[in-house]
Each structure stands twice: as C-alpha cells, then as structure tokens.
C-alpha cells in the first residue's frame, strides 16, 4: 500500500496536467526506510515526448546526491501516460531500477478525472497496490470556499478503472 499526502498527489496531478500532452515525471523523496513520501521533486522529461520519458541524467545525479545528503531515498517515482491507461508499459517495467520505490502512474487522458494507480516493480514482476490518501486538500478547501463543491477543480480516480476489462478474470 502507498500512503501519501493528498497535497502531494494534487501537486503530481498538477504537474502532469501542466505538461500534457507530453509525459511528466518526477520523484517524491522520503527518509530512508520510512516508506513515507515527503518531498515532491518534479523532474524534466529530457525526451519531451507524448509517449516516452527519461530523467535528464545530470539533473538526476544532482537530485540523487541531494537525497543521499539528506538521508532520503526515492519513495515514489511517478510519470504520466497522456492517452492510455495508467498501467506500466513493457518499457516502464524494463527500466524499473529502484527496488524500494512505489511506481505511481497518472493518466491525463480524461481532462476532468485523473486516474492514479500505484505499483511495485521487482525483477520484471508488476504488482498493483492500493493508494491511501492522508491529510487535508488545500485545493478542495479553496474550491469549497469558492463554489461549495470540494471536487469542482479536479477529481481523482484511484485503482483500476471500472471501465477497464480484466481479461485475466477467472470464474
């Protein structure tokens, strides 16, 4: 299970929306061994592509060193899919090189609803996990104050989309 502060999810979705239709990517750092994502670090997509992302290697070194100096590790590594479901592609699986990280995928294919799913990827094996949000939403509070609807700005859909077909489903 990934437990993450609502504000961090909002910041990740805002980053993905901002870069749409290009894929957005980044990291959420947290204290080593804590499994707690605490510090959101949006990264450049060096490929600036709608279907591929890659951290800029120089920026990555700087960010990884900074995490090391602060006794942090990448707790979450996220990127967006901008036209397809938020499920790891074969490319995502072959590159997954941080065994302790939660791989968070956001799909921005729907302009109103961001789909968010989280995965562990170890030795090429993908396992989905639930996402639990904690904390108050600044965005929702502002939205509530402005127009009485806590979900007017952006809604989130977690886990497998009900519209998706599970071909592996056995009776």
């Amino acid at each position: 299970m990934l437990t993450i502060h609502r504000e961090i999810i909002e910041a990740i979705v805002a980053h993905a929306r901002r870069d749409h239709p290009d894929e957005a990517c980044g990291v959420v750092a947290g204290p080593v061994g804590s499994d707690t994502p605490a510090r959101h670090i949006p990264m450049e997509n060096a490929e600036r592509s709608t279907t591929f992302y890659r951290f800029d290697s120089t920026e990555q070194l700087r960010v990884w060193r900074e995490m090391d100096d602060r006794d942090e590790e990448p707790v979450v590594i996220y990127h967006s899919h901008t036209a397809t479901e938020p499920y790891p592609s074969r490319t995502d699986i072959s590159y997954a090189g941080e065994p302790n990280a939660h791989y968070l995928l956001v799909s921005t294919r729907d302009p109103q609803t961001a789909e968010i799913r989280s995965f562990r990827i170890l030795d090429g094996q993908v396992s989905e996990e639930p996402v639990q949000l904690v904390g108050e939403s600044m965005e929702a509070m502002r939205s509530y104050e402005e127009n009485g609807d806590p979900h007017a700005v952006q809604s989130f859909m977690f886990g497998q989309s009900p519209a998706a077909v599970d071909y592996e489903c056995q009776p």
């Binding site: 592509s49 591929f52 990555q60 901008t82 090189g97």
Partner: protein, 104 residues
C-alpha cells in the same frame, strides 16, 4: 590508485550491501573489469553483451555523465568518484519501438 565507486540500491547485492566500494583503473572499461574481479557479475549489469554501456544505467565520473566523456573510454584519475545510477525512463510507448525511433 583508488577510485571511489558509488553503488545503487539495486546492485548492492553484488557488493555485499556496500553503498560505496574502492577500485582502480585508468579508464571506465578498466575500472569495470577490475570491479568485476572483486564483485563478479556486476559488470554484466552495466555492459551489454555487445560491449556497450547498458541503456538502463547512468554512469558518472564526478559530475559528468560518461556518455559525454567517451563512454567506456572515459578517463579516470586517482581521487575521482564514479557514480552508478539506474536510468529512470519509460512511458506508454513500447521499448522496441522507442529504441528504433530514438536510435538506441
């Protein structure tokens, strides 16, 4: 001469859990061969069977990505730090298609 080599989490199974190890070599190719002598199997995770640098890893000499320093020919001097990191990449596109398009 001693080169400080930083090992990423995913490869620490080769170094007995060590986060940093010491090795030697005048260039990256030599260093990786020496490292593999001490930690067998490590080189195979960094170099393809064809002998090129694996696209799944980034290797740096001090602050510079070795892809800008001649890759395996990158010169290394006593006191340098070599950092290995997993490349973070992916996306909706298939790997084979991406490799073809990007010419990698």
């Amino acid at each position: 001469m001693a080169i400080d080599v930083r090992i990423p989490t995913i490869l620490r199974s080769y170094t007995g859990g060590a986060k940093a190890v010491s090795s030697a070599g005048d260039n990256l190719a030599e260093l990786l061969t020496n490292l593999d002598g001490t930690y067998p199997g490590l080189r195979g995770r960094l170099i393809t069977p064809e002998g090129g640098l694996h696209r799944f890893v980034n290797i740096y000499v001090n602050d510079e990505d070795v892809r800008f320093l001649g890759s395996l020919d990158a010169k290394i001097s006593d006191g340098d730090t070599v950092t290995i990191l997993p490349a973070v990449a992916g996306g909706a596109f298939g790997l084979a298609a991406a490799a073809a398009v990007l010419g990698r």
